[in-house]
Amino acid sequence: MAAIHKLTRVSTLLALLLAVLISVGLPAGYFYLGYQSQKAVIQTEAYMNSIFLSQAISESPEYWRYEDRRLSEVLGHHTTKLYDQLRSVVDADNAVIVQNGVAVAPPHLTVSHDLYDSGHLAGRMEITTSLRPLLTKTLFAALLGLIFGILLFAILKFFPLRALSTAVRSIYEEKEKAQAILNNIPDIAWLKDKEGRYIAANGPFSRTCGLDPDKLPGMSDFEIWPRDLAEKYRLDDREVMESGKPKQIEEAIIDAAGRMTWISTVKTPIFSDRGEVIGTTGIARDFTERKSMEDALRASEERYKAVVDNVGIGISLISPKMEILALNRQMKDWFPAIEVAERPICFRSFNIPPRDEICSYCPTVKTLRDGLVHESITETPTESGIINYRVVSSPLIDSAGNVIAAIELVEDITVRKRAEAEIKRLNDELERKVEERTVQLVAAQEELVRKEKLAILGQLAGSVGHELRNPLGVMNNAIYFLKTVLPESDETVREYLNIIKSEINNSERIIADLLDFSRTKTPQIRSTTIDELISTSIGKCSVPDKVRIERDIPGTIPMLRIDPFQMSQVLQNLITNACQAMPKGGQLRISARQIHGSTLKARGGAGTGSNLSAANHELNADFIEISVADTGEGISPENISKLFQPLFTTKAKGIGLGLVVSKRLTECNGGCIEVESSLSKGTTFKLLLPCERT
């Protein structure tokens, strides 16, 4: 602010000086010019008058003194009146010869010119004029000058000065701000002019160089630093000014205390409004401590980098834009074509051919989105095929909690995955085999149990059947007797007799089953026609009227090679079951067709619930398939597997041995039995029986 006051005082003084100069100079100049002009005019007039007067004197050297009228006219009385002058002609004795004009008010201006008589001094001519008019005009000029001076002072004082003062104040404030900023910069900061002289510097600078900050302006580097350093600084300044671009330098200096300090200096050119370089500015930061930390950090980084590079897994850093920011050595080995500097997009770089969109299994996207750890197994297409990587994505979070990148830990598990797949396959195979063996074992065990059961059951059934058959025969004879002796018996008696008769038949049939079950007879194989077999079987069954029988037996079908009695018993059993499955009536369809051994081989060589190979049949033999199909309620799937188990029955009056016996008889005849059923649609039993070769 002192500078402003000083400038204000100086400018005020300057304005006052100019005003005074105008106030004084204008009238003085006017008077001087007017005086010189007036003097020049009367000098000219005096000269001209002197010419005529000298001529008159020469013409009448003795009497010119008396030619006052002539002389007076030469002096010009009109002129003297007009210009307020007094013109006189004086002879050599200073006697006034003639005088024109009036008394002139003082002060005067007198100009004289000598008069000659043929070269001899005869007198002189004087013109005296008053300076009062000129002084009066000068007074007006002074007044005008005073007004101009006051105006000038006012203009200079209140307008430019105010603007100048404002500008200076603004500059001062800006300078103060700049100085304050400069002083508040913790780093070393300074400004230099084009010649390398310091304009300003802050406290850290003065502390470093050990000089008073107020003494720094105007000093050069050569006055502050050792010569070698100063020359280097000057060279740097020139380079910055010539290039017009900032320059960053890191260097070690030795401060005033002899302590070595590492500084990072940024020198920047200062440009004027016209774009000319007018100096440089510099900021130097003491980074000795930071450098130590950086060195330590660098060593640590190198260690970590060595670890990261030498670890057996790949590590990459992925930006939120899916750009690859960094890769460790393992990743570079896996993906040698990737250039991190170019920051390629990961899903384009990691896949060959490149993908156009983010991988569907990418865990990094999820991590970048929710900041959590995600993992996934990739199927990365490469030139050598699909490579499986196990990618574990972890977030890299800044201090504000934002996910700024994702760290991918990548492990090539292709071999392991293949091994696991092979192990799994082997396990599956083993399990399948175990299961198969287990099934076989269970089946064998079940078969063994079943056979044991059947053996026990057969023994029991044979004993029981044998012991019960005789009483039943007696009871059957008794019924026959009663019907014979009581032909006129009432209806109720006949009804009960029939019931007894029916129940005796059922009991005999059960006993027959038990006996068949307990002892299997060796089949008497002979050629039998299907029609005969079927007709015989149907004829032995009591088919309800509501059941309609349909037969479909091709005429060219070969003859069967079976025990007709046993297989008729099987067919009877199947027809009886079918009729019982259709209590409301339905259709019983019995069909037959020839099946060649090769076709049977293509079908797997086995039927449901039976095994032809087990029956020692050659698959090359031909077979006749006899189907007994009803349209009854069908059998539930859980019951189908139990159909051929002994003692399993869904009937109220059955004992569960019919189908067991049928199966055994069929297999004894070299065939097999299969069943297919659909609930609400019906059940089909298929008998596969050997036939004669065609």
Binding site: A56, E59, S60, E62, Y63, R65, Y66, E67, D68, R69, R70, S72, E73, H77
Partner: protein, 286 residues
């Protein structure tokens, strides 16, 4: 040898001529010696100088030892001053001397009147003047002669006797002359001789003069009629022509004794005859 003799003779002749030339060139040399001559110096108003020259010639014939020198360009006032200082013996005035002038020891003698005339040169510039005409001329309202040629007005100095007499003709003319004095570019004659010279030389010039000067100096000027009256001695004496200029001779305390003899000659019959022939009306008032 011949050549040598001829050179000696030329040299002797040269020295003889030089000696004779020196002798005859000395003041007072010749027939009349300086001790035998006396000079009467006369000067003053120019209008009287012509007549005075005639008188001087006659006087010198009658008094061979006396030289009458006529000094020009002095005017009445210059003459008075010169007579008072002894530079002149006899002064000439175109007016009566004032009491102050007389009080300084001057003695005047009015020897003649002469018509104060308006004159021009050339016969084609005839114009009969009136007071009104003269006033118009001096006011600049009449700027051409009747034949259409330009009329160039010739002025005299403001304090000159002619100007005073002109203004005295009438108030109208006085105003007109005063206005003409402030006009620029008008012709101005410093003395009577220059006045007549300009009237003669400048075509169409119009000014004032006296009949005696025109006649005595044999000027080619024509006095113009005023109100139809030709300005001559008879018309002036009879009063039909009212304007005239009185001429005076005056002497001072320092005038030589010979001046009185010359004045006596002027008063003599021969003097009167010469004056009358020069266009003057001899008055002879002391």
């Amino acid at each position: 040898m011949k050549l040598h003799d001829t050179g000696k003779r030329v040299s002797a002749l040269f020295w003889v001529i030089m000696v004779l030339s020196f002798f005859f060139s000395q003041p007072g040399g010749g027939c009349v010696s300086a001790a035998d001559t006396e000079t009467i110096k006369i000067g003053g108003t120019g209008g009287a100088l012509g007549s005075m020259k005639e008188l001087a010639l006659a006087y010198q014939k009658k008094h061979p030892g006396t030289i009458v020198r006529i000094v020009q360009h002095l005017g009445t006032r210059g003459g008075i001053k010169a007579v008072l200082e002894g530079a002149l013996d006899i002064g000439l005035a175109g007016r009566h001397l004032s009491h102050q002038e007389l009080a300084q020891g001057l003695r005047e003698y009015e020897y003649a009147w002469s018509p104060f005339v308006f004159a021009t040169a050339g016969s084609g510039k005839r114009m009969d003047l009136t007071t009104d005409t003269v006033a118009k001329i001096y006011r600049g309202e009449i700027r051409t002669w009747p034949d259409g040629t330009p009329l160039r007005l010739l002025m005299r100095p403001e304090g000159d006797v002619d100007t005073i007499m002109l203004k005295a003709i009438s108030p109208e003319i006085r105003d007109a002359v005063s206005r003409a004095e402030s006009r620029e570019g008008l012709l101005l004659a410093m003395d009577d001789q220059q006045n007549c010279d300009i009237l003669e030389k400048v075509n169409g010039a119009f000014g004032t003069s006296t009949l005696s000067q025109i006649i005595a100096e044999k000027r080619s000027l024509i006095p113009l009629t005023f109100n139809g009256v030709t300005p001559d001695i008879r018309a002036m004496v009879s009063g039909r022509y009212p304007f005239y200029k009185p001429f005076h001779l005056f002497t001072g305390p320092k005038s030589s004794p010979l001046s009185q003899a010359f004045i006596e000659f002027v008063k003599s019959a021969e003097g009167k005859r010469i004056l009358t022939q020069s266009g003057n009306h001899v008055t002879g008032v002391q």
